[in-house]
């Protein structure tokens, strides 16, 4: 071999060595140095999490009667992965066939474009089951099972849906569930992220998952929601599942036991509805119509704060809202003509309490020593009027209702007869001696009874309003146009003393204030949830024999303790008992017509609601508690408030008494199920309200 090729052969060898060295260097760089970055990329693209929906927990009443249940329904859905494997024309044709097929089974036509939109919703993972139509009939399920090759990616599954065995009963306590909206979904996703960072468990949400929208369903969402199952799978490039890495079974949510007695609740609603009907179409002596747009009643246990009844009418049908609310339904629910049935007025309604507020003023007076020597213990009401001396205000003379003349009125009589002049006197003295008693002596007492603040019940409620001089100054400062007057006058204190003016209370607050008085001065937090429990065996219905490890039992929570000096408590109690039992009591007639066993105390209230330009009938309020004298303490405090309905003694008193009576005597009619209602069954009718005459309030 000559020299040139030999040299060139050596050059060739060197080139080969360099090339191999290059490969080895790159290999070392990839596998030795940069491995972790690429390994993470590998994991990210092949690991997928598929979520499986979990059934929600049930809602039961205090005795274990199921108020909200789950039933199985059939859903037709799609998996995007399988559909995307089709060629565009084939995919289009498949959607057309699907739309035609579904349309033939449903009343309203199913549009192809809607189906495509749903399948392409990027919030769903490619392997996720995307629900297209619910409540699929059996025939459709069989059809898809037999025609899998014609409908690739389309499958039929079962899922649980909420059912409400008692229909509208307690609907504005229970609330309803619906598909999660984008705002809620974003919030839950953020919460999940935060929980993951902290290493806490979180019940994951998928788009279109159901979420509690109102009532208990919303406020106990975190407990009621089941823990979705999780399938962690490894997928191929084309998205097929190669193997399952882990499978966590879905877990049913916790069951919520309410303090509500469904029989008492349904009876309460029934009485309210009946009386609402009695009132409508009638009017008071001044011609103001009794519209009774809403009516509500509360029954709670003064010893624990447990709410047994929180009845509010009008009601709605939660079953109609389960799969999302249709536009007509939404319009109906928000039409002012229907008085917003989604609200529970027992907790969210805010009304002027009228004379029922005298409990607060009386307590403020005895606490301040206003009726203790050397002060007079009563006021001589000689003409049914209370006139402010040297007054330059718009209104200087304040009158009793119906201009009644009370004579000498002490604490007990003032309550029994609901004498306004006595309370004007107290209100005047509080304001006149505000340097001694502070500007807000009455307001402070109201606060102790729980007014003007949320009670803390586990469901949406309103705050009410207790006006103060400070609030008024603030409102005027912030918006002088809407609140031209920033000063607090003596007259305001007089109005406040009898629960008029700007005072607003919720029926729950009012009832709990009287419960506080009835039990001797301990204010408990009202509770509507008695227990949250996880079932030991999720397949069996909840009950005492099927309680798992995770149980939360609500204990009574003391919020305040009120002290009464001397014998003032007994004197006030005599007054409240007298309201019902003595001949001069404002609710004597009503109680006589519909008595309860044992000794009961109560108070009527009639609050002016409208204005001169917009006349409205009065708000009718009544509170009752008892039976007194038992060693165990009073069993119930109850109230009824009916706006635009007339005098408290005429309307609210008989309403509350009729609601309470079967509860006290233990012969509550059983609540009617949806089926029974559909067959036309009703609860026993109640006597009509006598709205023809009136008792001075």
């Amino acid at each position: 071999m000559d020299e040139i090729p030999r040299f060139r052969m050596n050059v060739l060898a060197v080139v080969c060595v360099v090339l191999f060295a290059g490969l080895l260097t790159r290999l070392w760089y990839l596998q030795g140095i940069d491995r972790e970055t690429f390994e993470a990329a590998s994991r990210e693209q092949r690991i997928r999490v598929i979520h499986e929906p979990a059934p929600r927990g049930l809602i039961l009443d205090r005795n274990g009667v199921i108020l909200v249940n789950n039933t199985l329904t059939t859903v037709v859905g799609a998996t995007r992965q399988d559909i995307n494997e089709l060629k565009p024309e084939a995919r289009d044709a498949m959607f057309q066939r699907l739309a035609d097929k579904l349309t033939s089974f449903y009343a309203s036509p199913v549009k192809k474009a809607d189906l495509i939109d749903k399948v392409n919703d990027v919030r769903w993972g490619p392997l996720q089951f995307i629900p297209l139509v619910e409540n699929a009939p059996k025939e459709l399920e069989i059809f898809f099972a037999e025609h899998t090759e014609d409908f690739p990616g389309i499958s039929v599954r079962r899922k649980t849906v909420r059912t409400y065995p008692f229909g509208t009963t307690a609907s504005n306590i229970l609330g309803y569930v619906g598909p999660i909206n984008e705002k809620e979904y974003a919030r839950k996703a953020a919460e999940e992220k935060a929980a993951t960072v902290k290493g806490e468990a979180f019940k994951h949400y998928e788009p279109d998952d159901e979420i509690g929208k109102l009532g208990i369903e919303a406020s106990l969402e975190d407990r009621l929601r089941g823990k979705p199952g999780k399938r962690i799978v490894e997928v191929s490039r084309t998205g097929e599942i190669i193997r399952e890495i882990r499978h966590e079974q879905p877990e049913i949510g916790d069951d919520v036991w309410l303090t509500i007695d469904i029989n008492a609740q349904s009876w309460g609603e029934w009485v309210l509805l009946q009386h609402q009907q009695d009132l409508r179409g009638k009017h008071d002596k001044e011609g103001r119509p009794f519209r009774a747009p809403q009516a509500s009643a509360v029954v709670l246990s003064p010893n624990t704060g447990e709410i047994v009844v929180a009845a509010s009418v009008p009601l709605f049908n939660p079953a109609a809202l389960v799969n999302g609310i249709s536009t007509p339904t939404w319009k109906e629910l928000n039409d002012p003509k229907n008085y917003y049935p989604l609200n529970n007025y027992a907790l969210q309604g805010q009304y002027a309490p009228g004379s029922t507020f005298k409990l607060v003023t009386a307590y403020a007076a005895v606490e301040a020593g206003l009726l203790d020597p050397p002060n007079p213990s009563g006021y001589d009401d000689t003409n049914g009027k209370y006139t402010l001396e040297g007054c330059a205000d718009v209104k200087c003379t304040f009158r009793n209702a119906a201009n009644a003349v009370g004579g000498y009125v002490d604490l007990t009589t003032s309550i029994r007869k609901s004498n306004d002049v006595f309370y004007y006197w107290l209100g005047h003295r509080f304001w006149a001696h505000r340097n001694q008693y502070t500007e807000t002596a009455i307001q402070n007492a109201a606060k102790q009874f729980g007014f003007g603040q949320k009670t803390g019940v586990q469901i949406v409620e309103a705050e009410g309003n207790i006006p103060t001089p400070e609030k008024r100054r603030q409102a005027h400062k912030e918006n002088p146009t809407a609140f031209p007057n920033g000063n607090w006058f003596t007259g305001d204190n007089l109005n406040l003393a009898i629960g008029q003016g700007e005072v607003l209370v919720t029926p729950l607050q009012l009832t709990n204030a009287y419960a506080t008085f009835a039990n001797g001065g301990t204010r408990y937090q009202p509770q509507i949830v008695r227990m949250v429990s996880r079932r030991a065996d999720p397949k069996k219905p909840p009950g005492p024999s099927n309680v798992g490890t995770d149980v939360t039992i609500m204990r009574p929570v003391k919020q305040a303790t009120l002290k009464f000096t001397g014998n003032h408590y007994e004197r006030m109690m005599d007054g409240f008992i007298g309201v019902l039992n003595s001949s001069g009591g404002t609710a004597h007639k009503a109680f006589n017509n519909s008595p309860l066993p044992g000794t009961w105390g109560g108070k009527t209230g009639t609050a002016q609601a409208g204005s001169k330009s917009k006349p409205k009938a009065d708000t009718s309020a009544f509170v009752i508690f008892g039976p007194m004298g038992n060693a165990a303490g009073p069993a119930y405090a109850a109230s009824a408030i009916l706006p635009e309905a007339g005098f408290g003694a005429d309307i609210a008193a008989p309403t509350a008494l009729r609601i309470l009576r079967p509860l006290v005597s233990g012969n509550l009619p059983t609540a009617l199920t949806v089926d029974q209602k559909a067959k036309g069954q009703t609860l026993p009718s109640v006597p009509g309200l006598d709205v023809s005459d009136s008792i001075a309030d």
Binding site: M1, R8, G22, L30, G32, S42
Partner: protein, 374 residues
């Protein structure tokens, strides 16, 4: 020192061809062939059509036969027949343009029932033999005329392949030609001129519209962080580097590579088979494979050095260039340091044409090595 016993002398005839079989080359081929069989199985066992292991084994057996055939016959006989083989190869390259099937935008395949034949592969043998015959003649001037002749021999099949068009194969022919011209002793200034023309031509082609965008993408794609959805070459390289890198030092273990199992790397049983080795066998396994290729290359280079004549030497150089380029391009593209051109990894990638060609070429090298004393 004349032998006294004729019988013994004959038994000790050191020039006998069979005495000079290169067993190291055979060992490297066996190791690579069996590794390839295992990797092809791992890459294809989840394919809907089933594992390719049986056909791969069939090709290896057939390849062994072809190898034996090419080794058994004296390489001078092969060069003698080279014009016929060359003619047949060119005829097939013409025929494939008319009768062939299009695969991946390239009309380079005859489909024969379950098998596909890629005439560009056996064409390499014919071109190596033809160039070796032409440049290996004793009367070669190694000047312009020799260069022109060799370029003509190379140009005809390359032109035909350009019509398919199969850029990867053209590059292989180019490198085979370059190596053989270089080792064939063509004068330096001609070679420099040739390199200049090649550089200018390459730049010109890339700037012009001669190539389709996807072809340019392939040639210019190296590893990138993110790929546009339409850039399949980029995706391919991305997935390949992920697979190789996540294998680490020892790999996920045979049959356990998640990228391989999930079929994330397109063409993982053919051009991108090295990703399977990288992911499942790790750095250790990859180094063994590359070492076997290095061993092969060394033995082929050695065969060239001991070749009895220039024809034999040039055959070995042609085969060496072919294999080195195949390995460097195929492995390099999997690791993102070479453009994506679609070239199989010799003896390992699934596919009959490639395997039979490499076996035939190694048979030729063996034939040269065996007859080093002739």
């Amino acid at each position: 020192m004349f032998p006294t016993n004729v019988k013994n002398f004959r038994a000790r005839d050191m020039t006998a061809a069979w005495r000079h079989i290169d067993y190291l080359l055979i060992m490297a081929m066996v190791v690579l062939g069996l590794t390839g069989l295992a990797l092809v199985h791992s890459a294809t066992r989840f394919f809907p059509e089933g594992s390719y292991i049986n056909r791969q084994a069939l090709f290896l057996i057939a390849g062994t036969g072809v190898c034996v055939m090419f080794a058994a016959v004296d390489f001078t006989v092969w060069t003698k027949w080279a014009p016929w083989l060359y003619g047949a190869a060119c005829a097939m390259l013409v025929a494939v343009l008319v009768l062939g099937s299009e695969v991946n935008n390239t009309k380079g395949w005859f489909v024969l029932g379950p098998f596909q034949l890629q005439p560009a592969e056996p064409g390499k043998i014919a071109v190596i033999l033809m160039v070796a015959r032409f440049l290996g003649r004793d009367d070669q001037t190694r000047g312009a005329r020799s260069l022109a002749g060799a370029l003509l021999i190379l140009g005809l099949p390359m032109g035909l392949i350009l019509l398919q068009p199969d850029l990867g194969s053209i590059l292989v022919y180019l490198l085979i030609g370059a190596g053989m011209l270089f080792a064939g002793g063509i004068r330096g200034r001609y070679l420099v001129a040739l390199v200049l023309v090649a550089v200018v031509g390459t730049v010109g082609i890339l700037k012009s519209d001669t190539l389709q965008q996807y072809q340019k993408d392939r040639l210019t794609t190296f590893a990138r962080e993110t790929c546009p959805v339409t850039d399949k070459a980029c995706y391919n390289v991305q997935q390949a580097t992920i697979a190789i890198s996540s294998g680490g030092m020892t790999g996920y273990g045979y049959g356990k590579g998640p990228q391989t199992r999930g079929n994330f790397v397109p063409a993982q049983q053919t051009d991108f088979i090295f990703t399977v080795a990288g992911e499942e066998l790790g750095f250790a396994g990859s180094v063994v494979i590359l070492s076997m290729f290095a061993l092969m290359c060394w033995r082929i280079w050695l065969a060239a050095m001991v070749a009895p004549n220039r024809e034999g030497q040039l055959i070995c150089v042609g085969v060496l260039c072919m294999i080195v380029f195949h390995v460097f391009e195929s492995v390099g593209m999997c690791m993102g340091i070479m453009p994506v051109t679609g070239i199989p990894l010799p003896l390992i990638s699934s596919g009959g044409s490639s395997i039979l060609t490499v076996f035939a070429c190694c048979g030729l090298v063996q034939s040269v090595h065996m007859r080093k004393w002739s």
